[in-house]
Symmetry: C3
Subunit: 261 residues, 3 copies
């Protein structure tokens, strides 16, 4: 079976960066299957990148190698690393993105010691991460890439908070349809709500929504549907409308879920 390598970055699709990395991969590993996760992440946006990657990678087969090209600058505090987690590999920089992505520490963390292939230090993805990916794809041991580490740099991800009849959550992502994802899981909502009806309180304005829906079309056009999304998080959508714009919601904004007494 041909090795699968994915790419995630904030390069956009106009520049030469994506193609240069793909060329570097197939030059060394012609049989590789290369799949783009996303290159449209806002520049330097680790939160956005982690949300996209955490929702994409579980669909990939065991052994897949994910190259993560966001904020790749290496420093003593933020080394280049390769990880093994849930049977898949991740190569990138220890800038906090991996603690945002994973709910537990990876099985294995290696700090890369392999030399990079150019004298330039602005394109580590092409010049170092590809080399590490090819090494792994050829079945060589992860440990040969560098030294074992036991911890990762952590970025704080805000957790939702339950307070009496209210869950206070925050917007973690807005998708192409302007559906809004909260940092509240289905389990958290069900436990706090105990089957009670609920409303959304967005910036002081109350929207009675009563219950979870399973599809956007379970409400009339233009109405709010709160849905347990396929990401595991709760999603606020407006059937055939743009929820983020219409509700004035941006990343990190607070949304209160208020249960009826």
């Amino acid at each position: 079976m041909s090795p699968v390598i994915t790419l995630t970055s904030d390069w956009g699709l106009r520049d030469h960066y994506v193609a240069a990395v793909k060329g570097a991969i197939i030059s060394r590993l012609p049989e590789a299957t290369i799949i783009d996760i996303s290159h449209q992440i806002s520049p330097y946006n680790l939160k956005q990148g982690s949300f996209i990657l955490r929702n994409a990678y579980p669909a990939f087969p065991p052994g897949t190698i994910h190259i993560v090209g966001i904020n790749t600058e290496e420093s003593e505090r933020t080394p280049h690393i390769a990880l093994l987690h849930n049977g898949q590999y991740f190569i990138g920089t220890d800038n906090g993105i991996f603690t945002l992505m994973f709910d537990s520490l990876p099985e294995k963390i290696i700090e890369l010691e392999i030399t990079q292939d150019s004298g330039f230090f602005t394109f580590s993805t092409r010049d170092r991460f590809v080399k590490a990916a090819v090494h792994i794809a050829k079945g060589e041991p992860l440990e040969a890439l560098g030294n074992l580490r036991t911890d990762l740099n952590a970025l704080i991800s805000m957790k939702s908070q339950v307070n009496g009849n209210t869950i206070a959550g925050r917007v973690i992502y807005t998708d192409n349809y302007e559906n809004v994802f909260l940092n509240i899981t289905l389990d958290e909502l069900e436990e706090a709500g105990n089957k009670r009806k609920f409303s959304l309180n967005i910036k002081g304005r109350k929207h009675q929504v009563n219950q979870l829906r399973s599809a956007y079309t379970d409400v009339p056009d233009g109405e709010i549907a709160v849905i347990p999304s396929s990401t595991g998080f709760i999603e606020i959508a407006i059937n055939h409308g743009n929820a983020a714009s219409l509700l004035g919601l941006h990343t990190d904004d607070v949304v209160l879920i208020e249960f009826d007494n």
Copy 2:
């Protein structure tokens, strides 16, 4: 020969949706060749999606499987379906897009009965259409996916109309160069015109263009060229200019082709 599967959607390229579908495909069918038709279709825009897909799919080899992820919500009125048409397969929702795309009924229409792979109902493309595609790619009979149907939901596509010396057409698509495509085929224009010179009447303003051109550069920079495009439809372009903006044309706007007496 490895199976070819294409993807068409309104997901955009930033979110995790495209990658999650590709991961789901190669997890089941590592040898698949996956090709994106387009993911930049405007949200919910069946007309735009049908134009893009109808002009892309004929280039693909027999047996290609096209997954269509636009307005995928299933209902009694709009079931999930798999089609065989012109030797290629199409999987999507019977929301009208296929009648916009095809000029005749497909050879075979199957209403999907296979169960989907998750408890979520917002991502049928990943959780149900991929399963159907893999089934077909493995050479199993289409009939095993569900029940035969004999008809499709129809969306009305406006036809051009000939009235005396005039063809009244409408804008059906505007491309990246702002070239404008009308719902008038070369055959229709030639039959109505019978080699006469013609002008365009756009919102009451007359543009004498005289004759069809075969290339944009057959007119000087900044001038209008009317061209039998490779889509089969008539195209209005401005050599090195933006026809849609400069002529104020949007989808569904009327354009009159007026033949000289």
Copy 3:
């Protein structure tokens, strides 16, 4: 090893053009590995296209075939051509893009004589370039595609100029992070500077930057870093900022590098 074919164009990713070309390729050559260089080049922008392609193609393996779909209109003055250069193949139109891309004449230049596959003249990439690419991928001689030529149409690329203590350069490209690339190579800067400190003079305003940096993060957030980029050209960046906007720089603008005495 499966043949590698890349695509570069100004089509964007919404329309059917990219997919139609890929379908045409795999219909003839199912084993091809197709890689997009970029389809986000601004319409008709040969300078931008040449910068992207010249920085992407060296990463590809020998024998790679690059199809270039920008300004493809054929005329007596601008024929369709196939080139061999540095062990890789290029197929496109002799509109000047190749002289912008290469620092020397290609080893071989062939003017295409093969017929195209449709009666339309607006989609040469699909109808003629793919045919030439498949021919080359199958190992047939380049000469069978048409007649040898000895020269290419040249577009003038502005060279940087040294004048006393100053190098006058111009902006040749701005990337997704708004990093600005000048037409000044590392060698040119080092030779003229002879290890002296320097400042940038941008539209009459002087920015003391002193020395080259090797990484964006070698300066504090918000400060200017001048870096020998992996493209071979000098790059002006602002650490975690948007250099092009903040410095008011656009393609072709002049930037003076002034060395201290």
